[in-house]
């Protein structure tokens, strides 16, 4: 198993009450699979359920999908368009 860190920002951090958590993932786990796993585990975090949730891995934004590796830092945050 590989340990990664997931960080939550803005309204997602406020709603979850969690800044960051360490998670164990299996080899060849994709970002999309991690998000799906979190969504399944935390169905009351409605912002996490948004289909347009934004994600970055090691401070690089990911719009498609990618494989995660041990030590990765995944950041999750909702898009903001208000003005």
């Amino acid at each position: 198993m590989n340990t990664i860190t997931v960080k939550f920002f803005a309204r997602l951090r406020e709603q979850s009450g969690v800044d960051a958590m360490d998670l164990e993932i299996g080899d060849m786990t994709k970002l999309s699979e991690l998000i799906a796993q979190l969504q399944d585990q935390h169905q009351d975090w409605t912002i996490l359920q948004q289909k347009n949730l934004m994600a970055a891995v090691n401070h690089s934004m990911i719009t498609d999908d990618c494989l995660l590796a041990a030590g990765d830092e995944v950041a999750l945050f909702p898009p903001v368009t208000g003005g």
Binding site: F9, A10, R11, R13, E14, D19, K51, N52, A56, H59, S60, M61, T63, D64, A75, F77, P78, P79, V80, T81, G82, G83
Partner: protein, 250 residues
């Protein structure tokens, strides 16, 4: 020889004292036309700082009227301006701040049918509107015409800001960063803290000046995400997306 008058040299002295602005930079600002989409919480500081800095021509686009609930954060307006069109009301305030610049108030919503006319002649566009559709229209126009675009957004107690310098070949675009065009919560739905939009708007004005003067390191290829409650600032890097539906290869 400078083209600046004694009055301008005095007025903009604190800009000119900055070594990376100087007289030449001030002349660039005075000769620039910036279009600001949205005269709301973000547009307020954007417009005030752009006018104060001496950006010579500002076009203000907003189809809304000042509402009493706007006064909590849209600090360009006052109580006497409630119910007035925002673009006109903002222009009236800016005329008092800087009577020497040209102000164009456009009480229109940016749409596919008017985007060419409204953004024509812009040296730089700043998008601080409350909807993604208008931002995407600005993105398309700016990309097609090689005009830099500064875009910022805020809601609740957090904000995001980034820039696209379409003068550079192979610049990423707004759709690379926000590929999903579904609209998100508006400030009217979820609330927003006044100084949060003020801060994000001030950053947008800073980025606009940097891009106009080609100074510093603009927020291109980086999305700044700010969480005011944890007072956490994060830069997330992004690149042009090959699969982008606006600028991608397919």
């Amino acid at each position: 020889m400078t083209s600046l008058t004694d009055s301008q040299l005095l007025r903009y002295a604190r800009n000119i004292l900055l070594s990376n602005v100087d007289i030449a930079g001030q002349e660039v600002l005075l000769g620039s036309h910036v279009v600001v989409i949205g005269a709301g919480g973000l547009g307020s500081p954007v417009l005030q700082y752009c006018a104060a800095a001496g950006i010579g021509q500002l076009t203000i686009i907003d189809d809304d009227c000042v509402d009493e609930t706007n006064l909590q954060r849209q600090v360009i307006f006052n109580e006497q301006q409630v119910a007035q069109p925002k673009a006109e009301a903002a222009a009236a305030q800016l005329r008092q701040l800087n009577s020497a610049i040209t102000l164009n108030a456009k009480t229109e919503r940016l749409e596919a049918g008017n985007v060419d006319g409204l953004l024509q002649g812009a040296d730089l566009v700043i998008a601080g509107t409350d909807n993604l559709a208008s931002r995407m229209l600005a993105n398309g126009y700016c990309r097609a015409h090689s005009i830099p675009l500064v875009t910022g957004a805020a809601i609740g107690t957090s904000g995001q800001i980034t820039c696209f310098d379409f003068r550079q070949q192979n610049s990423a675009c707004l759709a690379c960063v926000y590929p999903d065009e579904s609209e998100n919560l508006s400030c009217a739905q979820s609330g927003v803290l006044g100084p949060v939009v003020g801060t994000v708007g001030s950053l947008m004005a800073t980025e606009a000046i940097k891009l106009l003067l080609n100074i510093g390191k603009p927020l291109t290829g980086r999305l700044l995400v700010w969480d005011a409650m944890s007072m956490d600032w994060q830069n997330f890097n992004y690149a042009k997306s090959p699969g982008c539906k606006v600028c991608g290869e397919n």
